[in-house]
């Protein structure tokens, strides 16, 4: 699972499909980390938005490619600026393909 800058989504997708990752789930999210929020001004009314728009990408993969997936996301989503986001690696208990009932790695 990775939280990245929205405009980096296409590069991340391309990097992951290049690794053979066959699917991902993307969600538009807001949040904050070390990156400061932005200031919006509407006719003199100033609002500092401390929640910054990000994209959350969720990818399920086999254990043996997990490291390469993390590297690929880290490389593709990197701009070198604060606010590039984070990657979290979680263990999955099980996976099932709904159409066929296949499980685990064959379901990915």
């Amino acid at each position: 699972m990775a939280v990245i800058k929205p405009f980096k989504l296409d590069e991340v997708r391309e990097a992951l499909t290049g690794l053979g990752v066959s699917g991902m789930t993307v969600t538009e999210v807001k949040g904050f980390g070390r990156q400061k929020g932005q200031t919006e001004i509407y006719r003199g009314a100033e609002y500092s938005t401390n929640m910054v728009p990000k994209v959350k990408v969720e990818v399920a993969c086999a254990d043996d490619v997990a490291d390469r997936v993390v590297e690929a996301v880290q490389a593709a989503a990197n701009t070198g600026a604060i606010g590039d986001g984070k990657i979290f690696v979680l263990d999955l208990g099980a996976a099932v393909r709904i159409r066929t009932g296949e499980t685990d790695e064959t379901a990915l």
Partner: protein, 476 residues
């Protein structure tokens, strides 16, 4: 039937002694009863087809300013939970104001009676038919009375609709509609009568004093700076003061939910305003074209000026700023549109944006009132800049149109005295501010103490759309 015995109206071709807009025609009922036309000396005037077509197109353009123009302009600026409440308020105000207009509004505004309000002789459009005529600003030139009624109806619709922006997101629907009916009757029709009613160029010489109070004073208001914008702007201000600020005002962010909608609305306002201003000439002629050009360039100047101000003050020019500047420019040029030279119209546009910017940012923040969509800061303040500016830019010495003296027939160009004109303009502004301000305050307080103007805190927090109207703007 259809003999014109009187007529009224507003602005003029070249200059006007008064403001613009309204014409009236006295219906010759006695003549009908006698079964014969009681012989006017000259042949009965016939409405010009070009003028007639222009007035109907202009009326439709002004309606488009309200729906959807103003509705979207306002709607985009509120939070998503209140979007439909604003659209609904504007739509139903337009509907109700139209009905009030044909029932008694037209008669109260544009028949003779007293200098302060007309009579009820044309209530329910009695005596009006397809052959009756309304005067223009030229001797011997008329338009169908129905065209005039339709054109003026759209002004009576947009003016109360403007008010709702001042207390958007926190007003109950039904009391607002009751306010609209009362406000039109007690405030709008009298002010329209005072500024725009006169007997017409062919009748004033023989009916001296048959005019509205401010028209008779010589106040210049081509298309409604006082009647529409100052009138609505000050009513909005007192409304937001009586109702109070929104829950969480200045404590939580309340950003506009869709500036895209606001951009669409502002653009429709600009286009529709050509009907508002150039249509107020009542004739499709050179002065209408002048008003058209002025409406175009004053708006352009004001939009650009607001963007420059924001670039300097905030380092970023915003779309909302430029759109707000455009509306401020439209407001300011409204009373001057048929009087100014295009270059002084540009100056007016350049002046109005910094003034309005100061009011919607510094003044509003300093005093803390929650004029949600800046009805006061843009419409009232911009209207005052325009009304006073009109006294300057109308001067023929500055390329302006001056005014016509209609007390003689044919009308002649009057002698322009800028100092005296400015005094008259200020007087018109003050009368409008005081009358609209006081009566509006009384009406708002009365409604607040009886049926209540403000929804409960829970309703306001959850949003007016779901609670007042039972629907949501966006079901995604």
């Amino acid at each position: 039937m259809g003999i014109v015995t009187g007529a009224g109206m507003r602005k003029i071709l070249g200059i006007a002694a008064g403001t613009a807009a309204a014409a009236t025609l006295l219906y010759a009922a006695p003549a009908l009863a006698q079964g014969a036309a009681s012989a006017p000396a000259a042949p009965a005037p016939v409405a010009d087809k070009g003028d007639t077509a222009w007035m109907m197109v202009s009326a439709a353009l002004v309606l488009m300013m309200s729906v959807p123009g103003l509705a979207l302009f306002y709607g985009g600026l509120v939070r998503a939970k209140n979007m439909l409440s604003v659209l609904m308020q504007v739509l139903v105000i337009v509907a109700v104001a139209s009905l009030v207009w044909v029932c008694w509004g037209y008669s109260l505004a544009f028949t003779g009676g007293s200098p302060f309000i007309g009579g009820l002789s044309k209530a329910f459009l009695r005596g009006v038919d397809a052959t009756t005529l309304a005067a223009t600003f030229s001797n011997g030139v008329y338009i169908p009375e129905y065209a005039y009624i339709a054109f003026q109806m759209t002004f009576a619709c947009i003016t109360p609709a403007l008010i709702v922006g001042a207390f958007a997101e926190r007003v109950k629907f039904t009391p607002l509609i009751l306010f609209t009916v009362a406000w039109l009757t007690i405030v709008y029709f009298p002010v329209a009568h005072m500024v725009w009613y006169w007997a017409g160029p062919d009748f004033l010489p023989t009916q001296p004093g048959d005019w509205g109070y401010l028209y008779g004073k010589g106040a210049l208001d081509f298309a409604g700076g006082t009647v529409v914008h100052i009138n609505a702007g000050v009513a909005g201000l007192v409304g937001c003061l009586v109702i109070g600020p929104r829950l969480g005002y200045k404590k939580e962010p309340m950003p506009p939910h869709s500036l895209v909608m606001t951009m669409i609305g502002a653009s429709l306002l600009w286009v529709g305003w050509f009907g508002f201003n150039a249509g107020s000439n009542l004739e499709a002629n050179g002065v209408a074209a002048l008003a058209f050009v002025n409406t175009y360039v004053a708006t352009a100047a004001a939009a650009a000026a607001w963007a420059v101000i924001e670039q300097v003050v905030h380092k970023k020019p915003s779309l909302l700023g430029a759109a707000t500047g455009a509306v401020a420019g439209l407001v300011a040029i409204t009373p001057a549109s048929g009087f100014a030279h295009p270059m002084t119209a540009v100056l007016l546009g350049l002046v109005v944006s910094p003034v309005c910017f100061f009011f919607v940012t510094t003044v509003k923040n300093r005093f803390g009132y929650d004029d949600t969509l800046d009805v006061f800061g843009v419409h009232c303040v911009g209207g005052i800049v325009g009304a006073i500016g009109t006294g300057i830019v109308a001067d023929p010495a500055l390329g302006g149109q001056g005014f016509f003296d209609y007390t003689v027939k044919p009308a002649v160009t009057g002698v322009y005295d800028m100092g005296a004109q400015l005094v008259t303009q200020v007087e018109a502004v003050l009368i409008t501010l005081v009358w609209s301000g006081l009566v509006s305050a009384a009406l708002f307080i009365l409604l607040d103490k009886t049926i209540g103007l403000r929804p409960t805190a829970d309703v306001e927090a959850e949003g007016l759309d779901i609670n007042e109207h039972g629907e949501r703007a966006y079901n995604l």
